[in-house]
């Protein structure tokens, strides 16, 4: 009886490859089931609030998802200005990011070269983090006007801190044994910087840049809202839609801005893992 079942089962046994494939699919399904369910639940709550909580005359406060799609996102007359605004904002964010990256990495690296520089700069770099940028915004407008230049400055200010501190941390965490090895080889300051310190600090620098890339998007949208002169960015549009009570356009613009933020973050995560993932674990995930 027992032997019979065993042979019968053996005949039908799937190949190892098939088993692996199924296991992979099941694992993938399992790991994405919960996030997918959460997304569906979120949309369900959205519908419930639109139709059950809000009376028809107040439904404009939160139009249901399909209306946001049909009235705004699917309509080129609405979508095109938003995409254009997003491009303007992206340009400002990009410019601010590059400036912040150059200044931040340079400052972070310099602090490591001389102790007195570290003592002179670091407290103020920390200060930069706790100063509410929003409080500085009127002053920036007063000095630099209410257009693109000021938007870029807001981006730089908001992105600078994470880059400086992470670069600084990266340089400080260079292994002591490796430093001694370079002492032993009578390495010059330049050799030390290029062959030891920069590569060793790269994972931290990339972490700083990744955090800053998220911050800079926020900075650019805040900048749009306060410095509305010149080409309108997505933040300018969001402000305008709010004033005109165009809630479906407002929600569509928020969705687009969020997608942009997610895209930027994803690009930096990928960049990080491409540059240092081979030898450093921080590039693998997160």
């Amino acid at each position: 009886m027992t032997t019979a079942t065993v042979t019968a089962r053996a005949r039908r046994a799937p190949s190892v490859l098939q088993i692996d494939l199924w296991r992979g699919l099941i694992r993938m399904g399992r790991s994405s089931i919960v996030p997918a369910a959460a997304a569906l639940a979120g949309i369900a709550v959205w519908y419930a609030v639109s139709y059950l909580l809000l009376s028809p005359e107040r439904r404009f406060l939160l139009p249901p998802p399909h209306q946001v799609w049909s009235l705004s996102l699917a309509d080129p007359a609405h979508l095109d200005p938003m995409l254009h605004g997003l491009a303007v904002t992206a340009r400002v964010a990009g410019l601010g990011f590059v400036c912040a990256a150059v200044i931040g990495v340079a400052v972070g690296a310099l602090m490591n070269q001389a102790r007195w520089l570290e003592r002179g700069i670091y407290p103020y770099a920390v200060l930069l983090q706790v100063v509410p940028i929003l409080a500085l915004v009127p002053l920036i407008g007063l000095w630099l006007g209410y257009s693109t230049a000021s938007r870029v400055v807001v981006c730089v200010l908001i992105a600078l801190f994470p880059i400086i501190t992470n670069t600084h941390f990266g340089f400080r965490s260079v292994d002591r044994g490796l430093r001694e090895l370079f002492d032993l080889g009578r390495a010059s300051g330049w050799q030390r910087l290029v062959r030891l310190e920069l590569p060793a600090a790269l994972p931290s620098i990339l972490t700083g840049l990744r955090i800053a890339s998220g911050q800079v998007v926020i900075g650019a949208i805040i900048g749009d809202m306060f410095f509305a002169q010149g080409e309108p960015g997505i933040g300018t549009l969001i402000n305008a839609f709010r004033a005109q009570l165009r809630s479906y356009d407002l929600i569509a613009a928020i969705l687009l801005a969020s997608l942009f933020g997610i895209a930027v973050f994803t690009v930096f995560t990928a960049l990080s893992s491409a540059l240092v993932g081979r030898w450093h674990s921080s590039g693998d995930r997160r």
């Binding site: 044994g177 090895l181 080889g185 790269l202 030898w279």
Partner: protein, 262 residues
């Protein structure tokens, strides 16, 4: 000797302080750290060219400090340290490899810092990787290597410079017993081939006797030389040596010195 590097409290000075046949010489060296710890007190130790000297002693007896002085990583508080060659290799306790660089790039690092010409560098790096049996792993990253293999890379990196003096600071302490024996044999075969002058710091009396021509026994606080024991055992040596009566006698003598002078 024109190439002699002499360290004293004032830094490098030009005059040679080595008698003929000497490669490294510590002369009345004392070392007190800023914290007030006396690491070495009045240590004198001449080392002949091509000699293999092991230094054993309890923790804190300043044996690592001796090596760091010879490498020029520290300066003595008083006395002089003379080294007869500018070509000095140092093997740390840790392999100290650049994690982002391949085995080959790691092995080439010191030759590049020393400004060796590319053609010769390439040849030296390939030869020293082959000498430690890592020629098949040249393109791997350190993280994919075992602890013993990482130590081999560190050895190859030092050997690529063709050092006249090799300083080893408890290099095999972190390895398991079998890997450790493998590395000891590896080092012995490199030594038999190249005949560099070796200063080898270790906790292990067995290791010291197996490798060295002379074993320096140090005592702690302050670090002083308590005894110097000659090891008259023929080369080339193998692990079988450990079962010979002469070897066992040597180990016993040194162990007694260590016990008495601790």
């Amino acid at each position: 000797m024109a190439t002699t590097r002499v360290l004293d409290t004032t830094g490098d000075v030009g005059a040679g302080d080595l008698t003929p046949g000497e490669q490294v010489s510590f002369q009345q060296v004392s070392m007190t750290y800023d914290t007030g710890t006396v690491a070495l007190q009045d240590v004198s130790l001449p080392v002949r060219a091509g000699e293999f000297v092991a230094i054993v002693g309890p923790s804190g007896c300043g044996k690592s400090t001796l090596l760091r002085l010879a490498a020029g990583l520290e300066r003595p508080t008083s006395g002089t340290v003379a080294v007869g060659s500018p070509s000095v290799g140092f093997i740390f306790q840790e392999p100290n490899l650049l994690p982002w660089a391949s085995v080959r790039r790691n092995a080439a690092l010191l030759t590049e810092l020393a400004g060796m010409e590319p053609a010769r560098r390439k040849e030296r790096v390939a030869a020293s990787l082959a000498a430690v049996g890592l020629d098949g792993f040249a393109d791997q990253l350190p993280k994919s290597l075992s602890g013993g293999m990482r130590m081999r890379v560190s050895l190859a990196r030092a050997m690529a410079l063709e050092p006249d003096v090799l300083l080893l600071d408890e290099p095999f302490g972190a390895l398991d017993e079998l890997t450790r024996q493998e590395m000891q044999m590896q080092l012995l075969s490199l030594y038999d081939r190249e005949r560099f002058t070796a200063l080898f710091v270790t906790h292990s009396v067995d290791e010291a006797v197996l490798l060295a021509d002379r074993v320096v026994v140090m005592s702690a606080r302050p670090g002083r030389i308590a005894a110097v024991v000659d090891v008259d055992l023929a080369r080339p040596r193998s692990l079988e040596l450990r079962f010979e009566p002469d070897y066992v006698d040597c180990v016993r003598t040194i162990a007694e010195h260590l016990r008495r002078d601790r």
